[in-house]
């Protein structure tokens, strides 16, 4: 394995990690108004991802910077080709990112409503655009012999790109729902599970089509296996949801996300961006890679810091593992939860009352 191959693997890991992590906070952002019926509940929903979303988004930053550093030509062609789409993506990420911080800062319903809106739209739009961009890598874009994009804005909307986007958005919603179920109690959790089941059914259908489509585009059978993993995983997820093992369900949707994004990169290799103009113009791992010295330096950096990052990010999830509930719905007064199923067995005890910071 050459250094460029290794770096293609690292880039794939970074983008997969991005979707596994930011995927659920996209989902929670998009679903928070559906799952939360009142301000307290919506606030709880947002706070389930509060400590994590920022760290999750860095996976995208590093995924992008990794491509810049390891495959400059890929970065240059891809980002300039998708110009207006990326502007849209940035708009989505900007609106979404500030929504978290701004939303709770003024206690006026209209203010909160506005930032809830930008959070929802941004959380849907971002995976949508990234999905199209990732799908396009495999579907192919009009790229000439100088690796320059020759198409227009509309050429970005390849059928496979759109389907990839649809699949990823659905997976994000499902992933968000299972995360919400894992971190909330009572009615919030029930509603998240109900939504998750609904989205899950559609997601499985989209995923089956995605898998078949991917294998046809890539024309390689063994790689299809990776993608096929995704479908059974989702079945497991559905079963797990019925069985009310929230941790297992979330692990299953995380695995489904890993398999989906991972398989896309696996199908892409050894290309990094297919040219629909001519296969001779394909951008590949070898013809876009940086020199060996730069890749060595970055390999060492990644070898040192990736384990550290995984360690402290995992620790953050351990620290904030407790379930959150709205102030009005506090245990242990069970009477309040009448009519709703009690916590499933094996679940950590419901959280003690969260203290709402004044102001």
């Amino acid at each position: 394995m050459t250094l460029p191959d290794l770096w293609f693997g690292i880039v794939a890991v970074l983008w997969t990690g991005f979707f596994v992590l930011e995927g659920f906070d996209f989902g929670v952002g998009a679903l928070h108004r559906l799952v939360g019926r009142n301000e307290d509940e919506r606030r709880v929903a947002i706070n389930t991802i509060g400590p994590f979303w920022d760290g999750n988004e860095v996976w995208l930053v590093v995924g992008g910077a990794g491509i810049f550093a390891a495959f400059p030509d890929w970065y240059a062609t891809w980002f300039s080709a998708g110009y207006l789409a990326i502007v849209l993506l940035l708009m989505a990420l900007i609106m979404r990112g500030v929504s978290f911080e701004f939303r709770g800062k003024v206690d006026v319903p209209r203010w909160r409503h506005t930032w809830s809106g930008t959070l929802t739209i941004g959380s849907l739009l971002a995976p949508l655009v990234i999905g199209i961009a990732l799908g396009d890598l495999l579907a192919g874009l009009p790229v000439d012999r100088n690796q320059e994009y020759t198409g227009s804005f509309l050429d970005l909307f390849t059928p496979f790109g759109l389907w990839t986007a649809l699949t990823l958005v659905l997976l994000c919603l499902l992933h968000g729902a299972t995360f919400l179920a894992l971190r909330t109690t009572y009615s919030l959790r029930i509603r998240a599970l109900r939504l998750g089941r609904l989205v899950g059914l559609v997601a499985v259908a989209a995923l089956v089509v995605f898998v078949v489509w991917t294998t046809r585009l890539a024309d390689v059978d063994p790689l299809a296996l990776a993608a096929l993993v995704a479908a059974p995983v989702l079945v497991v997820a559905a079963l797990a949801m019925l069985g009310r093992h929230d941790g297992l369900t979330f692990a299953a949707t995380a695995l489904a996300m890993t398999a989906t994004v991972g398989s896309l990169f696996a199908a892409l290799y050894p290309n990094v961006l297919v040219s629909s103009t001519s296969a001779n113009f394909n951008l590949t791992v070898q013809n876009t890679a940086s020199g060996d010295y730069a890749l060595q330096v970055m390999t060492i950096t990644a070898a040192i810091f990736m384990p550290l990052v995984l360690l402290y990010q995992a620790w953050a999830y351990v620290v904030f593992r407790r379930r959150l509930s709205p102030p009005a719905e506090q245990p242990p007064t069970r009477a309040h939860g009448a009519g709703e199923p009690a916590s499933p067995p094996g679940e950590p005890p419901p959280a003690s009352p969260p203290v709402v910071r004044p102001g």
Binding site: I46, N47, G50, P51, W53, D54, G55, E57, V61, V62, G64, A65, G66, F68, A69, A70, F71, P72, Y75, A76, T77, S80, G82, Y83, I86, V87, L90, M91, L93, I94, G97, V98, F100, E101, F102, R103, G104, K105, Q147, E148, T150, S290, Y293, A294, V297, M298, T301, A302, M306, V309, Y312, Q313, A316, F320, R322, L324, P353, V355, R357, G359
Partner: protein
């Protein structure tokens, strides 16, 4: 305007905007960490209230700083794809390292700090805020290494097959003399910005008789005085280094067309620019330019005409003179305001020493309004650095005109420019609104959510809904 002009405008506008927030958050993160440490040591709930107060101001700006940073990273590929292809081998590495080593650290621990009250053990919680401050400062190191490479490319060899620079020594990149001085300068400017904002807010609050803010006012002054003086000194040292590698930048900053020895420094001139070589000099200080540009009393400073001739022989025909008017005034705005901030800090320290800080109304009014100075200085500093590099994108290796994306149309750049301008204006409006609201708010009452006294037991609390 063609695509190149629009792309340049967009990069300049988004960078300047991004850098309004970056130094503020780097500096304020450090100061909030100090306040948090004070609370940790003293157990005084007032210190905690101050920590939370300034922590909120920090977070509002971090939000905008982070999201506008995304634009910066993506823009290289979007608008400057020819540049990205050309330099990615060298320039990409520090950006990727920044994410891996610093940005992950900063973002993850910020979440832990914000939501960690009453959840993390107190000692660990204190550590998280220091890691945020450390991560933010470390981030800047990688970005400055990348930028310094554009000012003074080192540690690379040219690939004979493609003609592109290839990284050959990462050590050289991080010992680049421009990087070392520019990085220290940026960190000092960041501390200055954070301290100035903390001072201004504290001064405003002291005018409203919120006596607790004496603590933060004193802290900010203790930081402000040394860093504002050091920033001037390090900045002038950076100027000497730049004069060696980018003589045009420094000559243009002094509107010095002809070579001189010794050289006097023009304090104020009327007119002056690329088409006006003989502006009216109002005040000149003999020998000062020699001192600033070379570090010696009688130093020789090469004029723009001479550099232009050399560059034409070296790189071929072309205009290698940047916009002189912009260069001259950005340097002066930065330096004069920097000196003014030092004087303000000195005044404040003297008042604090005489125990009159909270009652000197004139000082408090001036200090409140001085909040704008660091932002003007930071902007002027970057305009000086980046405008002075023109027409180069990478000094001596690639011009800005050659770096732009060829596959992106003028209309596309025009659309994105309008989108960013509108979006950033809206963000700026909301940020300013929230800052004014939260900076003028009364301190929270003594926190009701006091952590349990025994330290390790604090881990059993439950997280606040911070959002």
């Amino acid at each position: 305007m063609d695509a190149l002009d629009l792309a340049r405008t967009q990069f300049a506008a988004t960078s300047i905007y991004h850098f309004l927030f970056v130094p503020l958050t780097i500096g304020l993160a450090f100061l909030v960490a100090v306040l948090h440490t004070k609370w940790f040591r003293s157990g005084n709930p007032d210190h905690k209230r101050l920590t939370r107060f300034f922590g909120t101001l920090l977070l509002i700006n971090v939000a905008v700083g982070v999201v506008t940073g995304l634009v910066q990273e993506f823009q290289f590929g979007m608008n400057w794809s020819a540049y990205s292809r050309f330099v990615g081998d060298v320039f990409g590495a520090p950006l990727a390292m920044e994410g891996l080593a610093a940005f992950f650290l900063e973002s993850t621990f910020l979440g832990l700090w914000v939501f960690g009250w009453n959840v993390l053990p107190r000692r660990v919680h204190l550590l998280t805020v220091w890691l945020v401050a450390f991560g933010a400062a470390l981030s800047a190191a990688f970005i400055m290494a990348a930028n310094s490479w554009m000012q003074h490319p080192v540690g690379y060899t040219t690939d004979p097959a493609t003609g592109r620079p290839q990284l050959s020594s990462i050590g050289d990149m991080f010992t680049n003399t421009i990087f070392v001085w520019a990085y220290v300068h940026v960190i000092l400017a960041s501390l200055l910005t954070g301290a100035m904002v903390m001072l201004a807010v504290s001064a405003w609050q002291l005018r409203r008789k919120a006596a607790l803010f004496r603590t933060s006012a004193t802290l900010s002054l203790v930081v402000l005085l040394p860093v504002s003086v050091l920033a001037l000194m390090v900045g002038s040292r950076l100027g000497v280094e730049e004069a060696r590698y980018q003589p045009m930048k420094i000559a243009a900053a002094e509107a010095q067309w002809t070579t001189c020895q010794p050289c006097s420094f023009s304090l104020f001139q009327i007119g002056g620019g690329n088409d006006d070589r003989t502006p009216t000099q109002l005040i000149e200080v003999p020998h000062l330019l020699s001192l600033l540009a070379t570090g010696t009393w009688d130093g020789r400073v090469e004029g723009m005409d001479s550099v232009q001739n050399r560059y034409q022989q070296q790189y071929g025909p072309g205009d290698y003179v940047p916009n002189v008017f912009v260069q001259y005034w950005s340097m002066r705005v930065m330096a004069y305001l920097g000196s003014a901030v030092s004087l303000l800090a000195l005044w404040g320290i003297w008042l604090a020493y005489r125990r009159k800080l909270a009652t000197s109304r004139v000082f408090l009014v001036v200090a409140s309004w001085a909040v704008v100075t660091p932002f003007l200085m930071n902007t002027a500093g970057w305009v000086l650095t980046e405008n002075g590099r023109q027409p180069w994108l990478v000094q001596g290796l690639m011009t800005t005109a050659d770096g732009v994306s060829t596959s992106v149309s003028t209309a596309e750049v025009a659309i994105s420019l309008v989108v960013f301008l509108v979006l950033y204006a809206a963000l700026g409006f909301v940020d300013a609104f929230l800052m004014l609201r939260y900076a003028r708010r009364e301190l929270d009452p003594a926190p009701p959510d006091e952590a349990p006294p025994d330290e390790e037991g604090a881990g059993e609390g439950s997280p606040a809904l911070a959002y």
